[in-house]
């Protein structure tokens, strides 16, 4: 019987885990008395917890498979179905808008600050989603462009006194430029090779920032970066936070707006075609290299703008903010949220960035939790929390007139 096998398998897994964790969970060197303590109770706990975890895991796995067999194509995510429904869309968007409008006034500054970080990650996630989710290019050095934006604002302000609002559009161009420059040599590579080389490039940028003292002030970083002004006027600390909150909300809206348009345009379709099948894509008349480069450069554009906001918010940056872990966090946002799905990425960013902030106990093990989440999502929801849905076109056959329904 299946359940018997189940139990047997879980027992084996539990046993295996008990052996694996034996050195750390059971053996403890007592340095005061110079003895070794064996904590056998821990062994028991590991066994029991692993056994039940394995049973639950298997249960969901089987349920998932049973569901998959039933229907493949009809599982449009709930949120998309609701947004398609005209009666529901307006109230829903109204509630979301009201929530985000009221947020900084209802919650204390600390929460506003956390929400700003999360929204910056929404921007970064949507940008990286172009590269990874749509064009299928695994970029592990994305944080480099984030750093470019942050340092652009810090340095241009330091040396030339340029304000936030001047640097923001400049940084977008700078990000594009860097995207093209870094993309040009590396985009001839594919898959794993591309991932490794972009990882290298990302680290190079960070190491340059760390060591080129005269340019970037090295590991000491740059302090006293001014917050954005409102027509030349500075707010006090509390109001500045609210002001930045609204700026970043506006930027997120702009990102969603443009990314959605791009996704359902000639270039967006080309990205997806490239991701799905490179050879067929070229045979359809699409310039592979140009298409990759545009994805890479556009992704960089949003990263750089995110960087400017980050610098303005924290008022202090140093190279430690731009390590490989940052790239991986953004990648987790995209993969866990749902590759290629804007709504998924937004949900992913909010969940992954807000949760660790509020569950303080977890935040120490942030990367561990991300890893575990990644595995769980890969197994149970391979398309991410909210998978992407393509645009539906309706045709009036007689008149050949078309109406479009977008899901966003």
């Amino acid at each position: 019987m299946a359940i018997k096998n189940q139990i047997k398998q879980s027992l084996i897994i539990a046993f295996w885990f008990m052996i694996l964790t034996f050195p750390i969970m059971v053996i403890k060197v007592n340095t005061i008395q110079n003895t070794i303590d064996f904590r056998w109770a821990n062994l028991l706990w590991v066994g029991i917890v692993t056994f039940f975890a394995s049973m639950v895991w298997n249960y969901f796995l089987r349920r998932n498979e049973a569901q998959k067999k039933k229907e493949i194509d009809d599982d449009i995510p709930l949120i998309h179905r609701l947004l398609q429904n005209d009666r529901f869309r307006r109230p829903f968007l109204g509630v979301v808008a009201a929530f985000f409008l009221a947020y900084p006034f209802v919650f204390p500054m600390y929460h506003t600050s956390i929400m700003i970080s999360a929204l910056v990650y929404v921007m970064l996630g949507l940008g990286l989603n172009i590269v990874v989710g749509l064009a299928g290019l695994l970029d592990l050095g994305y944080v480099a462009f984030y750093a470019v934006g942050a340092y652009a604002y810090a340095l241009l302000n330091l040396h030339f006194g340029l304000s936030f609002w001047v640097v923001l559009p400049m940084s977008a161009l700078l990000g594009t430029l860097f995207g093209v420059m870094l993309g040009y040599p590396v985009l001839r590579l594919r898959g794993d090779y591309l991932a490794i080389v972009t990882l290298g490039f990302g680290e190079i940028i960070r190491i340059v920032l760390e060591n080129w003292d005269t340019f970037s002030n090295g590991p000491r970083g740059i302090a006293d970066i001014p917050p954005p002004t409102f027509f030349g006027h500075y707010f006090d600390q509390h109001d500045t936070m609210i002001y930045i909150y609204f700026i970043v909300t506006g930027l997120v809206l702009m990102t969603i707006f443009f990314v959605n348009r791009l996704e359902n345009s000639k270039i967006g379709r080309a990205w997806i075609a490239l991701r799905d099948d490179e050879i067929a894509c070229q045979a359809m008349g699409i310039d592979k290299f140009k298409t990759k480069l545009t994805a890479f450069a556009l992704g960089a554009t949003w990263a750089a703008m995110g960087g400017v906001v980050f610098a303005a918010k924290t008022s202090y940056i140093n190279p430690m903010s731009f390590t490989i872990w940052e790239s991986i966090t953004i990648l987790c946002v995209v993969v866990i949220g749902g590759m290629g799905s804007a709504i998924g990425v937004i949900a992913g960013a909010l969940v992954l960035i807000l949760l660790p902030e509020y569950l303080r106990a977890v935040s120490e093990y942030r990367m561990l939790v991300f890893g575990a989440l990644q595995v769980i999502v890969m197994v149970f929801k391979p398309d991410g929390l909210i998978k992407s849905v393509r645009k539906v076109y309706t045709f009036n056959v007689q008149e050949k007139a078309i109406h479009e329904q977008t899901h966003t």
């Binding site: 270039i267 379709r269 075609a273 050879i279 359809m284 592979k288 992407s388 076109y393 045709f395």
Partner: protein, 264 residues
């Protein structure tokens, strides 16, 4: 006399020590349905790949003379430029874009005939909107012609097998070709689907002004459709002629029956 629409001379393709194509010359006339046949591994798909720029041939000349235009060489062009010049193809192992709907798969074919760039896609001026609408209607019309309109918003992977093969043809048509290369379009189809394909290919030639070169193993289909047949075996061209000539050709029969050829 008119120049052939596609003229391939002395085409050779080496993979390391393997001569997948050895000095093959083939000419396709305008308005023909031509077939390229030969046993498995003869080099037929490689021939397509050399013409369409997926492989760069080791040696040889590939020239096209599009209707109303001058002769030009395709050698060394990237696949997307070959497509732009008016040659479209399908793949032996179906290569649809599985993350997209049926309509979008066809719209990808329109890609090289659309002009709006990134900035226009973001700002959506009227010119971009019109172009996009036109791409949608054009693609839908192609789906209607090919008989796939009912699947328009389905994901391409969820189509029945025969419909997937037809979608490959629809997608190729969307690039506005003058020459269509079909790589085993009937493979895996049932007799009913094969019959429909037969009609579709004839219809394409007669109504869309297309010249067609097809690779096919279904001899009944090949013999009934083709105006001219080219036969390759072990990378070498061994015969060409009308279906009647080919049926009677002893070299061809030998190649297909798998007898040892005397020039081993």
């Amino acid at each position: 006399m008119n120049k052939p629409i596609l003229s391939v001379k002395n085409l050779t393709m080496n993979f390391g020590g393997l001569k997948a194509l050895d000095d093959v010359s083939i000419a396709i006339e305008k308005g023909q349905i031509a077939a390229l046949i030969g046993p498995n591994g003869a080099g037929k798909t490689t021939f397509f790949n050399c013409i369409t720029g997926i492989y760069e041939p080791t040696k040889g000349v590939v020239e096209i003379t599009p209707p109303g235009k001058n002769t030009q060489s395709l050698r060394g062009l990237k696949p997307n430029y070959v497509t732009e010049r008016g040659i479209a193809r399908t793949f032996q192992n179906i290569r649809l874009f599985h993350g997209m709907t049926v309509l979008e798969n066809v719209m990808i074919g329109r890609h090289c005939r659309l002009s709006s760039g990134i900035i226009k896609a973001m700002l959506q001026p009227p010119s971009q909107k019109n172009e996009e609408q036109k791409a949608v209607t054009d693609s839908y019309e192609i789906l209607e012609k090919i008989g796939l309109a009912k699947y328009v918003n389905d994901m391409a992977v969820n189509l029945p097998y025969g419909a997937q093969r037809r979608l490959e043809i629809a997608r190729a048509l969307a690039t506005d070709p003058f020459l269509l290369l079909l790589d085993e379009p009937a493979a895996g189809m049932n007799p009913q689907e094969t019959k429909e394909l037969d009609d579709l290919i004839l219809w394409l030639r007669d109504n869309e002004n297309l010249t067609i070169l097809l690779i096919e193993h279904d001899m009944k289909l090949v013999m009934s459709l083709s105006d001219w047949i080219h036969v390759v075996d072990y990378g070498k061209k061994i015969a060409e002629g009308t279906p009647e000539d080919i049926k009677a050709n002893s070299d061809v029969i030998k190649a297909y029956l798998g007898e040892d050829s005397d020039d081993a």
